[in-house]
């Protein structure tokens, strides 16, 4: 840009600097105010959920809709716990094995597809990646038919199995990108020792994989915990419903019991929220990995 050659307007230098500094301070203030404003906006749904969940049913009327509870009570939380604890147990039974297995599979696949490649590895990876984007509706009818035709052991294992299979693309992607950053010299050293594939994986790659395991496990935990689509298609027995299905169906039937609806929604979200608060940094890394090359 050649605008620098035009002479500066004849304003005394100190004054110009002062004005610019003032406007910069104003700009910074406006920016910060906007940042805080949007943070408040984003947290508003959380505020109403928390506040309403601690109210008595009588206080959820329009007049008190936005105010703090005048009497804080755990009634709605207790009620939500009574209703949802079997479903929470179902979700845990589903999420833990599915997360562990799909994370391990992702690690093995990611290792091979980045460091122990075979001819056609890129094609295989691309075909896996497509599985990341497909609308699961496109497999749902045959999947439910198949699972019931082969008499898969039980509904929760069926659902866990589905999450493992359809989790392969994302877990493989995260590990593959992570392993791509391992320096070749390290692999070379293992090769010099004539270490086989499993030895190399076990003693060279696995010991430095912890961050990728955390990122992947959090990602899988959160998305399987929050899943509704697979659950609603695969699980027909209400006793086996995971918590998302239970919350949705309960909320549909209790049209105006807002305190219970909110405590149920919060209870169902607590595990993923706690994980997010404790390990949010890894969660964001998973997000960025999920966007391919960002």
């Amino acid at each position: 840009m050649s605008t620098a050659t035009t002479p500066a307007p004849p304003i005394p230098a100190p004054m110009r600097l002062g004005r610019r500094r003032a406007s910069r301070t104003t700009a910074r203030f406006v920016k910060f105010a906007a940042i805080v404003f949007f943070a408040v906006l984003v947290l508003t749904p959380l505020y109403v959920a928390v506040v309403t969940s601690f109210k008595e049913a009588a206080e959820t009327d329009p007049a008190h809709a936005w105010s703090l509870p005048s009497v804080w009570t755990l009634d709605a939380w207790r009620q939500a716990w009574d209703q949802l604890s079997p479903n929470l147990a179902n979700t845990f039974k589903l999420v833990i094995p599915a997360t562990v297995i799909s994370t391990i599979l992702g690690s093995l696949n990611g290792f091979v597809l980045s460091k122990w490649r075979f001819p056609g590895a890129n094609l295989v990876f691309t075909l896996f990646l497509f599985g990341l984007f497909i609308p699961y509706q496109a497999v749902m009818i045959p999947l439910t038919t198949l699972l019931s035709d082969i008499h898969f052991p039980d509904q929760i294992p069926s659902l866990a199995f589905a999450h493992i299979v359809y989790g392969i693309p994302i877990t493989t992607l995260i590990f593959r990108s992570y392993y791509a950053t391992i320096p070749e010299e390290l692999m070379e050293a293992a090769r010099m020792d004539r270490a086989g594939m499993l030895r190399t994986y076990w003693s060279v790659v696995l010991p430095i994989s912890a961050p990728a395991f955390v990122v992947t496990a959090i990602w899988q935990f959160t998305s399987i915990w929050n899943d509704f689509l697979f659950a609603v298609f695969i699980i027909s027995d209400p006793d086996k419903w995971p918590v998302t299905v239970a919350v949705n169906n309960a909320a549909g039937s209790l049209v105006s019991n807002y305190n219970l609806q909110m405590s149920s929604a919060l209870l169902a979200s607590l595990p993923t929220l706690i994980v997010y608060i404790l390990l949010g940094r890894y969660f964001v890394r998973g997000l960025l990995a999920g966007a391919l090359k960002g």
């Binding site: 620098a4 001819p119 509706q137 198949l146 392969i168 979200s269 960002g294």
Partner: protein, 295 residues
């Protein structure tokens, strides 16, 4: 044959996943297409050939037209809104402020919550009910003396789907912010400095130096949001349930299968969703993998 001894074990290790993906992604997609061409239109499974009958019926079905129209309104609002807020939030944070980590975490937190739980809260916020059953934003508008803003939200005749996009914008703006923030931070500082040395004002630095750098991010963001939007299901079910007024193709498919037992027509919708997403995603995937190989 030394080379096969070299890569053979790798292929062997990945083969369980290859088989699973081959069967459960590609195999089942094929099977679904077959169902869509069959005469399975009642609870009892049948496998007779019916050609494109299900697609033809779908085409003549006003409920299908309506759900496609809903999806278009939803997608437009959702993508424009999320890109706008994502970029704005990233822009606000990109030069670093005190407590940046905290604000970033706040903006991203909705993503850790299921659409089902978020839907419960947003249904309260966007409650169109009057009188004793009112809640949420309509009550807030009333209290703030801007009651004329109160409206029917997701039950609105024309813009209901735009209202239902609000929770989706709330949920995903943080994600897009994270993408853009990484993009902003990838702009070499020397480039900005050079532009400033040339006397460019700050907004011109953004316009000519920074924003062009963000174009690939915008492309990724569009693909991500586009495919999320086409599949949208949980959020709609959580807020609108099975009502026609908020129905999208994915929800309609669910209704066709579970309430009408029309598997062929349900499978036809699923196939069309897949085609829509493939048009969006396949060129992007090929491009990503190719450019990675070049690098």
């Amino acid at each position: 044959m030394r080379s096969i001894r070299r890569w053979g074990p790798g292929l062997l290790l990945v083969s369980p996943s290859i088989v699973l993906i081959a069967v459960f992604v590609y195999g089942l997609i094929g099977w679904n297409v077959k169902v869509s061409l069959s005469d399975w239109r009642q609870a009892e499974q049948t496998t007779g050939w019916a050609g494109l009958a299900a697609y033809r019926d779908l085409n003549a079905d006003p409920a299908w037209d309506e759900s496609v129209h809903h999806l278009l309104v939803f997608t437009g609002t959702f993508i424009v809104g999320t890109l706008f807020f994502g970029l704005l939030l990233a822009f606000l944070l990109e030069k670093g402020v005190r407590g940046e980590g905290f604000f970033r975490s706040v903006y991203i937190f909705p993503l850790a919550v299921s659409f089902i739980a978020a839907g419960v809260v947003w249904r309260w916020l966007m409650n169109p009910a009057p009188g004793d059953r009112a809640s949420g934003l309509n009550v807030a508008f009333d209290k703030l003396g801007i009651g004329f803003l109160a409206n029917d939200w997701y039950l609105g005749e024309n813009w209901g789907m735009a209202a239902i996009a609000m929770p989706a914008i709330w949920a995903l703006s943080g994600y897009i912010m994270a993408l853009y923030l990484a993009g902003f931070r990838g702009v070499p500082e020397e480039l900005r400095e050079a532009a400033r040395m040339d006397g460019a004002r700050e907004w011109r630095v953004y316009r000519h130096v920074v924003f062009p750098y963000l174009r690939p991010v915008t492309l990724s963001a569009l693909i991500i949001l586009g495919h999320i939007s086409i599949k949208v299901f949980d959020l709609i079910v959580a807020i609108g349930g099975k009502q026609l007024i908020t129905q999208t193709p994915a929800v309609y498919m669910w209704i066709l299968i579970y309430d009408a037992f029309d598997y062929a027509e349900g499978a036809a919708i699923a196939t069309l969703l897949l085609i829509g997403i493939s048009i969006l995603v396949i060129p992007y995937l090929v491009y990503s993998v190719r450019s990675e190989q070049r690098a």
